[in-house]
């Protein structure tokens, strides 16, 4: 079978059976429990055909669970699932796929060493004479890319592991389309994307709805929900607390629905003035994983009590910059000076002792050991810190108390240091990591995407802490792909493009659009997007 065939088949399918209702899917009275956790409680959701329906909610509010029910991964305890007006009871994703439901998980389902094409057709390979007919498949896939404007058709023979996350996400979508999905569920698709990629995704979504497909779009981000969705359903603690139409809703209203209280989007109210330089970076050059120079001559200073924000499209060297400063990546050339001493080639361990904290961009593979409990995780990075370790011997009681205090102060759910890191939601995982790093009482902080995939409540909290730290006179280097965040927090914004700081601007003086232009190197050579092929994903999130 080929992509187009299924497309048509699917289209017919919906037009014939679809007459039943104008709803592509209807979830009625869905309840799902895990032990005593009520993930979904009598949730209703009606998905208009050809529309985008956003599902908004904090971590653990039940979004993914609800969708896993629709996708046949979980069996609901109560309630009914209707697709094209017919009651369906999916036992496995296969049934859902056959019924035209596709789901793009938060953590992609791709076979890294296999090529894009092989991944797209996996399980539904067309064959000729026993051999996989890659040419036929290629044609179909290229057509799909054509129609919805995906760029992965240049990459069809590239192993997925070489694509950045944005491209990998496209592969996932193409995969669903190739299998003839009429209903597409996207679980936090934007959590790992750059602003540009997000825009691209929204265009794709528009194309899809235009072609009669129906989308469910999970996110924490109000702006995105309002921009991309027709309708928005908000979940809180497993309840559907409201469904509003996107253009009728206001940020504040939605935020309140989500969090159950008022959220203020305060601008920065800084008190102190920056002091002496803490980190001085001169002509820093770093070689990336693929052996190419990814940081190419960065100069800057981060002073006491200031937050230097680094904006940029992912893969332009921000990660390498951060990693080389904190001692996780060797420096090819240039120097890093910290409080007067040259730390260019210092090891991570010595820098930890010198008080340089690091919030890694990938909490799941770096920030936490997923199959350790929180107590053991509290020692991570503290191995050389008294009183946790004395003369090489660990004092687990001290560590335990430390873990307790982090969980308390940073309100990590569950409030149990015995919980496995793996069982925490990403948001709570992030809170724990942030807490642990801040408790180092550091003198400088390098924070990479500190609020990625974290819900509003936590974002607010983490931002406040960062400001506190700044006000206590710490030097903070903030790397983020959320321009909003950068602008809210930074005292100065450095824009990074192809390994260089193309400009350092005052957050007050620029708009997101200006930044977007700078980030895409527009002043250097007009409109040429940085070649996405050369950028690579920061893994872990898709593991």
């Amino acid at each position: 079978m080929s992509g187009t065939d299924t497309d048509d088949a699917g289209a017919e399918g919906s037009s014939t059976t679809g007459e039943g209702s104008s709803y592509a899917a209807q979830l009625s009275g869905i309840s799902k429990r895990f032990g005593d956790v009520v993930a979904n409680d009598d949730v209703n959701l009606d998905l208009e055909r050809g529309s985008v329906h956003a599902l908004l909610g904090e971590n653990g509010s039940g979004k993914t669970t609800l969708m896993n029910v629709l996708y046949g991964l979980y069996e609901q305890d109560e309630g009914t699932v209707r697709v094209d007006g017919q009651v369906r009871d999916f036992d496995s994703p296969r049934d859902a796929i056959d019924a035209g439901v596709g789901m793009i998980h938060q953590h992609f389902q791709l076979v890294e060493p296999m090529t894009v094409l092989q991944n797209v057709i996996l399980g539904t390979e067309p064959t000729r004479g026993g051999l996989v007919d890659e040419d036929a498949a290629r044609a179909d896939v290229e057509e799909i890319c054509e129609r919805y404007g995906f760029d992965v058709d240049e990459e069809l023979d590239t192993p997925v592991r070489e694509l950045d996350l944005g491209a990998q996400q496209h592969v996932e979508i193409v995969k669903s389309l190739y299998r003839g999905a009429e209903i597409l569920v996207l679980d936090e698709p934007t959590a790992v994307l750059t602003p540009q990629e997000v825009d691209g995704l929204f265009e794709v979504m528009a194309e899809l709805t235009a072609s009669g497909r129906s989308l469910i779009f999970i996110t924490h981000k109000l702006g995105e929900a309002m921009e991309a969705a027709d309708e928005i359903t908000v979940l809180r603690d497993g309840h559907a607390v409201g469904t509003v139409s996107a253009n009728a809703a206001s940020r504040e209203e939605l935020a309140e629905l989500m969090v159950g209280r008022e959220v203020l989007f305060d601008a920065d109210d800084r008190t102190t003035e920056p002091g002496d330089p803490v980190l001085t970076i001169e002509d820093l050059q770093v070689i990336g994983d693929r052996g190419r120079p990814t940081v190419r001559g960065v100069d800057c200073q981060i002073r006491e009590g200031e937050i230097l924000g680094v904006a940029g499209v992912e893969g332009n060297g921000q990660s390498e910059l951060a990693e080389s400063i904190v001692g996780l990546r060797s420096v090819a050339d240039g120097t890093v000076t910290y409080e007067g001493t040259d730390i260019t080639d210092a090891s991570r361990r010595s820098l930890i002792q010198d008080g340089i904290a690091y919030i890694p961009e990938d909490r799941q593979s770096e920030g936490l050991v997923l199959d350790y409990d929180l107590e053991r995780n509290a020692l991570l990075g503290n191995q050389t810190v008294e009183p946790f370790v004395r003369r090489g011997v660990v004092d687990w009681d001290a560590v335990g108390d430390h873990a307790e205090s982090i969980v308390e102060e940073y309100d990590v759910e569950p409030h149990d240091t015995g919980a496995m890191a793996e069982s925490l939601s990403g948001g709570n995982q992030q809170k724990f990591v942030v807490g642990r790093e801040f408790e180092h009482d550091p003198r400088a902080i390098v924070a990479a995407h500190p609020t990625r995939g974290v819900d509003i409540g936590s974002i607010e909290f983490i931002h406040d802490r960062l400001r506190e730290m700044r006000d206590e006179g710490l030097a903070v280097l903030l790397v983020s792909s959320k321009l909003e965040e950068i602008q809210q927090l930074s005292d100065r914004i450095a824009v990074m493009y192809e390994g260089e700081f193309v400009d350092v601007v005052d957050p007050g003086a620029v708009t997101e659009q200006d930044l977007g232009l700078l980030m895409t190197g527009n002043e250097l050579d007009d409109g040429s997007e940085p070649d996405s092929g050369t950028t690579h994903g920061n893994g872990g999130d898709d593991q």
């Binding site: 979980y74 069996e75 496995s92 389902q109 060493p113 296999m114 390979e125 890659e134 023979d157 192993p159």
Partner: protein, 385 residues
């Protein structure tokens, strides 16, 4: 990284390329491996000489090297024997490769080979005693493969269905082979070894056999050579050109992805593991009645570590069936080279020379770098509720 490239290249190429191209590419991609092999050989003779009393001056003397009777060393017979030595290793390695690609580390190859060797001997004995006809032998080999399937089915159920630890289970298979293999012989023949048994005759293809060297190597050969070559090529095609091959790779790299694509990971793994047992059994049967003349069950049995070498061969061959076959050939050649040297009177202590293949592998790996093991190997997979 060359090894990666070669694998990637062979996966993503567009089907136009002939196997010859693939091989030549493979060779090019692995020029460092080849270089390493040669370098090690020289270094090795050197060290061996150091350890013994052969004067080093002799070794640094070009004349000595030029003077060596290479003609007597690299004979057609040498190549012939190298091929024969490589056959069982290559077969078992292909099996192990498939199992591991699908996510099951079959460390029990040695054991399955021992069972194969003794079963083949036993069946041919039951069929016709010491004087089995060619037909009997083929029947015996087929029976061996079937038995191999049954044995690995058990192994597969334990490792896949019951999530047995693949490494312990594999070691257990080895112990079982060392025990029940010879024991079968005791039951059959009253001793751990069989009496001499007849083996497959070499088959001569009329005209082709006349071709100078290749003729004698390929067309005046033991038919199992052709079987082996066929299996190697077939397994290459299946792995990189058919949907089953895709599934096997997916099962080993990201079973969840395969599962959500609606393919049963378990079935794929069962198939791959049982295939590995079948070819390992054939490799064993090859030793006892294919090219050899009966089963020897003393000590580590006549299989004598070939199953372990097979594992090294496919890791060394970077999971590419063709490279794996070449790696096996390297082992065969290295071993035969040692023998040739002895034959022409180069007198180095063979307890040292025997180490040559092993040291080669180490050196080459150091030059070439990593072999990437499939991500999900060793991990049992359970699809969600």
């Amino acid at each position: 990284m060359s090894s990666e490239d070669s694998e990637r290249g062979s996966q993503s190429d567009d089907g136009e390329r002939s196997t010859a191209d693939v091989v030549s590419d493979a060779v090019y991609d692995n020029r460092w491996r080849l270089f390493g092999v040669v370098a090690t050989l020289l270094g090795f003779v050197f060290v061996a000489a150091l350890l013994t009393d052969v004067p080093l001056t002799k070794l640094v003397d070009i004349e000595f090297w030029l003077g060596l009777p290479y003609g007597d060393v690299f004979t057609v017979g040498f190549a012939e024997r190298a091929l024969q030595a490589a056959m069982p290793i290559a077969l078992a390695a292909i099996g192990g490769l498939y199992a591991e690609k699908s996510g099951v580390f079959n460390i029990g190859l040695e054991g399955f080979m021992i069972f194969g060797a003794v079963n083949a001997a036993a069946v041919s004995w039951i069929l016709a005693g010491g004087s089995a006809s060619q037909l009997d032998l083929w029947i015996a080999l087929v029976a061996t493969v079937l038995l191999g399937l049954i044995y690995t089915a058990v192994f597969a159920v334990l490792t896949i269905r019951y999530k047995a630890d693949q490494i312990v289970a594999g070691l257990a298979v080895w112990f079982l082979g060392l025990g029940f293999g010879p024991f079968t012989a005791v039951v059959m023949w009253g001793g751990v070894s069989s009496p001499p048994l007849s083996s497959l005759d070499t088959v001569t293809v009329p005209v082709l056999a006349e071709i100078p060297v290749l003729g004698r190597l390929l067309f005046d050969a033991n038919p199992l050579l052709w079987v082996t070559i066929a299996i190697v090529l077939a397994s290459y095609v299946v792995l990189y050109r058919t949907r089953y091959g895709y599934w096997i790779q997916a099962a080993g790299e990201n079973p969840e992805a395969l599962d959500t694509a609606g393919v049963s990971v378990r079935r794929v793994r069962y198939a791959a593991v049982m295939f590995s047992g079948a070819v390992a059994a054939l490799a064993g049967g090859m030793l006892s009645i294919g090219i050899g003349n009966g089963f020897t069950g003393t000590g580590t049995t006549m299989v004598d570590g070939r199953g372990w070498i097979a594992i090294v061969a496919y890791l060394f061959g970077n999971y590419n069936p063709i490279l794996t076959a070449l790696a096996s050939l390297l082992f065969g050649a290295a071993q035969m080279l040692r023998i040739q040297l002895g034959t022409i009177g180069v007198d180095l202590p063979s307890s040292l020379l025997e180490q040559f293949p092993y040291v080669t592998v180490i050196v080459v790996l150091t030059l070439v770098g990593a072999t990437r093991v499939p991500s999900a190997v060793g991990e049992s997979y359970e699809s969600e509720e």
